[in-house]
């Protein structure tokens, strides 16, 4: 009797497998949770020592907290996932799984969902630290919802970029190098490393405006409180980075399909 495996399109076991794959990487805990928490505590204390206690400090800490929160999707997806996936490509793991009948499309969907679940877990810890230690401002419902949507969208774009970069280079070393450079450039240009947007030269400011992270650092404290905000520039930044990730992903997938033809 033929007992071939009849696989579902998407399953809880596949999702759990991908989640274990993420959490099994120790660096993801360090860079995806540990580092943002550490940085927000350090910079939060620096702010507290420079700004007198009161509404201004609370707003500054909240702005810092919301901006540094973007490190979670960037570290976990852009750097972490690219590193994991490039190592898998080097070892031929995706091909091995395909030979067992595990569809690549199903793997990607499971991965992105697992990454988003991991992101939610990371933010629970991050927000616990923010609320209990840094005493960030309580959000308006609209602000919280907006932050969640924007972070999720940033995560999806980071995932797409990471997948494309790993597929293009197919080697761990170069993939890790490229994504780390991207990661630090995004953080520096977006003002997460202590350099304000106003201090940047005009061409770099123009580049910063193309990054969604720039708006997290600069403006999200207002959105968080539900204040009136012009979303158009931020939306344009999302569209630009989303399109960039999409185009890169398209070419990298086509290149891979060509190689496997």
């Amino acid at each position: 009797m033929n007992k071939q495996i009849q696989r579902k399109k998407l399953s809880a076991s596949m999702l759990l497998f991908e989640f274990r794959n993420i959490t099994g990487n120790p660096y993801i805990h360090i860079f995806g949770i540990g580092l943002p928490v550490l940085m927000v505590l350090i910079f939060g204390n620096v702010l507290a020592s420079n700004i007198p206690d009161g509404e201004m400090l609370s707003k500054a800490v909240t702005g810092l907290f919301l901006g540094l929160g973007t490190m979670i999707p960037l570290a976990a997806m852009l750097v972490g996932y690219a590193a994991t996936f490039s190592q898998e490509l080097e070892k031929g793991i995706p091909q091995r799984l395909e030979l067992f009948g595990i569809d690549q499309g199903m793997t990607i969907v499971s991965r992105i969902l697992a990454e988003l679940i991991f992101q939610v877990c990371s933010f629970v810890i991050y927000f616990a630290v923010g609320a209990l230690i840094l005493r960030i401002e309580a959000p308006a419902v609209k602000g919280l919802f907006c932050y969640m949507i924007c972070i999720a969208a940033l995560g999806v774009i980071s995932f797409g970029l990471a997948h494309a970069v790993a597929l293009l280079f197919r080697k761990f070393g170069i993939t890790y190098c490229v994504t780390m450079i991207l990661y630090f450039c995004i953080m520096i240009v977006s003002g997460m490393m202590g350099i304000d947007y106003e201090m940047l030269p005009p061409p770099v400011q123009a580049a910063a405006r193309l990054l969604p992270t720039h708006y997290f650092v600069k403006d999200f404290a207002d959105i968080w409180q539900g204040r009136e905000y012009n979303f158009i520039p931020m939306l344009q930044a999302y569209l630009f980075t989303g399109a960039l990730a999409g185009v890169l992903l398209f070419f990298s997938l086509r290149r891979r399909a060509g190689k496997n033809a």
């Binding site: 076991s13 497998f17 959490t23 099994g24 898998e88 030979l99 595990i102």
Partner: protein, 293 residues
């Protein structure tokens, strides 16, 4: 017919890695041993059947991809979790709820490895891990590409013994690439001989043996004293350190072995020696003294 390959050409750059002109068919129940030296095109053949390399020509099969199971030469998995979880997701089942999987795990003595991560397994355990999952697919056609490479003698023997016993009486077809010919003597009933990307011969193992070696071969040390003794008998192509004689009937075999016994010469008699058969098939294909590296 499960698989037919015809007019196949695989190129790596400008170099032809594999060329199969005459139709080559694998039928239900065939156990095909694929042999040849490094670069002969053995793994390339499997990769082209699986669609992993670009090729020109025709590979026809009445099986869908899910009905073909493959043990690749190199099999890697994530090191982020214990093997049990990898196994469960690949096979889309639970070890605790699947008696057939439990049986295979027990058969391959893999129970203690389930909790280990893949990078902590030994070479033999890694091979068994993939074999268990390949066998669980219970596919009508299964490829084993150098399933015992890198293993010590004892582990190799045990693994082959388990494979032989497992597939005994089953109708599934196997294509086994191996450099260890004694394994194929146990596992294969057909042999495909490849060399430098070309098919030297393909057919029933026993028929090929008779075609190239006669009724049986008697193999012994290639010392000059021994050569003198067996002058007059038909010598076959063989590795440099051995002399292989072809014996055409029982009487000749008795005469040869009597001679060797009288002279206290150790010998081995076989009617299925794939190594000697391979050497002679190559020699016939290229002509005497040609085709060597």
């Amino acid at each position: 017919m499960q698989l037919t390959i015809e007019n196949l050409t695989v190129k790596y750059g400008t170099e032809i890695a594999l060329e199969i002109k005459e139709p080559l068919t694998v039928s239900e129940g065939d156990r095909v041993g694929i042999i040849g030296s490094n670069g002969a095109g053995k793994s390339t053949l499997i990769k082209s059947i699986l669609g992993l390399v670009e090729y020109r020509g025709s590979i026809r099969t009445d099986l869908n991809p899910r009905q073909i199971a493959t043990h690749m030469q190199f099999n890697e998995y994530t090191d982020a979790m214990p093997c049990k979880y990898i196994m469960e997701v690949i096979l889309d089942t639970k070890v605790s709820k699947n008696p057939r999987l439990q049986e295979l795990i027990h058969y391959f003595e893999f129970e203690d490895c389930l909790r280990k991560k893949y990078d902590k397994l030994s070479g033999g355990q890694k091979q068994r891990f993939t074999i268990i999952m390949v066998m669980m697919q219970d596919a009508p056609l299964t490829f084993y590409d150098e399933v015992t490479s890198g293993l010590d003698f004892e582990t190799r023997q045990k693994l082959v013994e388990k494979l032989v016993n497992w597939y005994q009486g089953k109708t599934s077809s196997l294509c086994i690439v191996s450099h260890y010919y004694e394994e194929l003597e146990q596992l294969a009933n057909k042999i495909l001989i490849l060399d430098k990307g070309k098919v030297i011969d393909y057919g029933d193992r026993d028929q090929l043996f008779r075609k190239y070696c006669g009724r049986a071969v008697v193999v012994f040390d290639a010392r000059s004293r021994h050569q003198e003794l067996v002058k007059g008998y038909r010598k076959l192509a063989s590795p440099a350190h051995l002399t292989a004689l072809s014996v055409k009937d029982e009487a000749e075999e008795l005469a040869v072995t009597k001679l060797l016994l009288e002279n206290n010469i150790n010998y081995r008699r076989s009617n299925s020696d794939i190594e000697i058969m391979y050497s002679n098939a190559r020699q016939t294909f290229y002509g005497e003294g040609q085709g060597d590296e």
